[in-house]
């Protein structure tokens, strides 16, 4: 009898392809616990798959990001980007850490109010704000970001009805060196549209330009893009002050800082290639502080950071349901969570780690979800040790966008829990039930069986 632990009999052919200076990839490791809580026990208690959020990690990251900016600029206010993750528990942590709310629909506006956010601390963004929602937001003093001329005209009409001048923010887009260029939202600065809109706004006499806003893009790995955007917004604010005599009180640089996730097209993993948040803060603060604002008119910097705050606090725990060899000899595993709850798999190379590492040789593996759809691929290629049916895997980071963009498709969506700062485990969203899906439907009487 051998004293060696049993590992599955495996044979892997060496593939001699183009040289890779980084070798074959990360060394094998596993993740048995999050914040000291056993993932195996969590699966036994709540079932699989399971989203796990770490309150400790979330608060740490929020404070890290806030500190990076507070150190460099005296007037900073963060607003939590609701669309990134609007689970109540996540939002409440963000608000408890001092964040306002940034919403992009009347639904999200309502969510923010339900979470106790005062209307004056809600930034209302997005290309479509239904008229009743726009009226409420302007009447209640929310910071409304106008996206286009039709919205500007609607806001003027509302101000007329209110009988007072209403402060608004103009959303702008511009060339910051980021490709593809985000030019579908807001007024274009490069072709003069933004300045025309500002002049029109002042000439109308019903609106007051409180702020300027620009969202550079999403998952921006170049902090200098923010530096360029901040410098141009600041210059415009100074020009507007000179022309109208009214200082611009807020400059909103939007969101889009990269998390430490890894894009499919990225060579090095995000943990190595994502710039530290200090680089973004440095670029923005440098541009604003050197723009030439009078000290008593330094605008407040608003930020709508989403992904960078929450992504790494979320993990998905899932179980292997099958092992399979593909026709070309490649190894694959099927897990019980698919792209319907891991939407970001289409763009990101998530870490996939075994919860328990039982040894054995690593082999390139395709990780499939359980959906009967060809596109249900969680990872096209990842090194994994031999796995048995029922073995648990961790997929991370998945805290951003997967909850809000998940689809009820073929399968019901999983439960979500939060591990508190003291290790307490709370269910923050129960697993979906069939009645949740069918409750909104109505079957015409003629189809009902008596």
């Amino acid at each position: 009898m051998s004293h060696m632990p049993y590992v599955k009999p495996t044979i892997i052919q060496h593939i001699n392809s183009l040289a890779n200076k980084h070798g074959r990839g990360p060394s094998r490791h596993s993740l048995e616990r999050i914040d000291g809580v056993s993932l195996t026990e969590l699966l036994e208690r709540f079932g699989s798959p399971l989203f796990v959020f770490s309150e400790r990690r979330l608060r740490q990251r929020v404070r890290e990001v806030r500190r990076a900016f507070d150190l460099r600029y005296p007037k900073v206010q963060f607003a939590w980007s609701y669309k990134t993750n609007y689970l109540d528990a996540i939002c409440m942590v963000m608000h408890d850490e001092g964040a306002w709310a940034e919403v992009v629909s009347e639904v999200e506006y309502e969510l923010a109010l339900r979470n106790g956010v005062p209307p004056t601390q809600i930034l209302f963004n997005g290309p479509y704000k239904p008229l009743p929602a726009l009226k409420n937001a302007l009447a209640d003093g929310s910071k409304v970001h106008l996206d286009h001329y039709d919205e500007l005209y609607a806001a003027e009409q509302i101000a007329r009805e209110l009988g007072r001048k209403v402060p608004v923010t103009l959303r702008l887009n511009m060339d910051t060196g980021v490709h593809p260029r985000w030019d579908r939202f807001g007024f274009n600065l490069d072709n003069g549209e933004a300045l025309s809109a500002i002049r029109r706004l002042h000439a109308g006499g019903h609106l007051e330009l409180e702020g300027l806003h620009c969202h550079v893009g999403t998952f921006i790995l170049d902090p200098q893009a923010y530096g360029r955007a901040a410098a141009r917004l600041a210059q415009l604010a100074i020009d507007v002050r000179r022309e109208t005599g009214v200082p611009v009180r807020t400059l909103d640089l939007g969101g889009g800082f990269a998390s430490r996730a890894t894009l499919h097209a990225q060579y090095a993993p995000g943990t190595d290639s994502t710039p530290p948040v200090d680089d973004y803060a440095e670029a923005i603060a440098d541009a604003l502080l050197s723009a030439g604002f009078p000290p008593d008119e330094l605008p407040t910097l608003l930020l709508e950071t989403g992904r960078s705050m929450v992504d790494e606090s979320g993990s998905l725990i899932t179980r292997v349901v099958a092992n399979k060899r593909l026709a070309n000899g490649a190894r694959s595993v099927v897990i019980d969570a698919g792209v319907n709850v891991l939407f970001t798999s289409f763009w990101y190379r998530h870490d996939v780690l075994p919860v328990v590492d039982r040894g054995g040789m690593l082999e390139d593996t395709v990780v499939y979800g359980p959906l009967c759809m060809n596109i249900d691929v969680v990872r096209p290629s990842v090194l994994l040790p031999p796995l048995e049916i029922g073995d648990a895997l961790v997929v991370r980071p998945v805290g951003a966008y997967n909850v809000t963009q998940s689809m009820q498709f073929i399968r019901l969506r999983p439960a979500m829990i939060m591990i508190g700062r003291d290790g307490e485990v709370d269910l923050i969203r129960r697993a979906e039930e069939l009645d949740d899906v069918k409750r909104a439907e109505h079957l015409p009487a003629r189809f009902r069986k008596s």
Binding site: M1, S2, M4, Y6, V7, K8, P9, T10, I11, I12, Q13, H14, N323, R325, G329, G360, M361, P386
Partner: protein, 86 residues
């Protein structure tokens, strides 16, 4: 039929006929060495059961998958019957 295979103790396999190289896990090495030494495929699950604290069903399933993999890689003839999982 295994004359063209050179298998080291630490699981490095060189196929002198094709020039291909492979890495095997310790148990894979044990099984392939047994085959090279003349063991019948049907006897391989017992090799694992004798060597490790392993139930017969798992051993038979793992051997079956390993032999299928050897066959896919053309390291054993395709008419070598895999053992049946019991």
């Amino acid at each position: 039929m295994f004359d063209n295979l050179a298998l080291s103790d630490n699981g490095f396999l060189f196929d002198t006929r094709t020039g291909s190289t492979y890495s095997l896990s310790s148990t894979g090495t044990l099984l392939l060495r047994s085959l090279i030494a003349g063991a019948a495929p049907d006897g391989l699950p017992a090799v694992l059961v004798d060597e490790f604290e392993l139930d017969g069903r798992t051993a038979a399933q793992d051997v079956e998958q390993f032999l299928l993999r050897l066959r896919d890689l053309r390291l054993v003839a395709s008419d070598t019957p895999p053992t049946e999982a019991v």
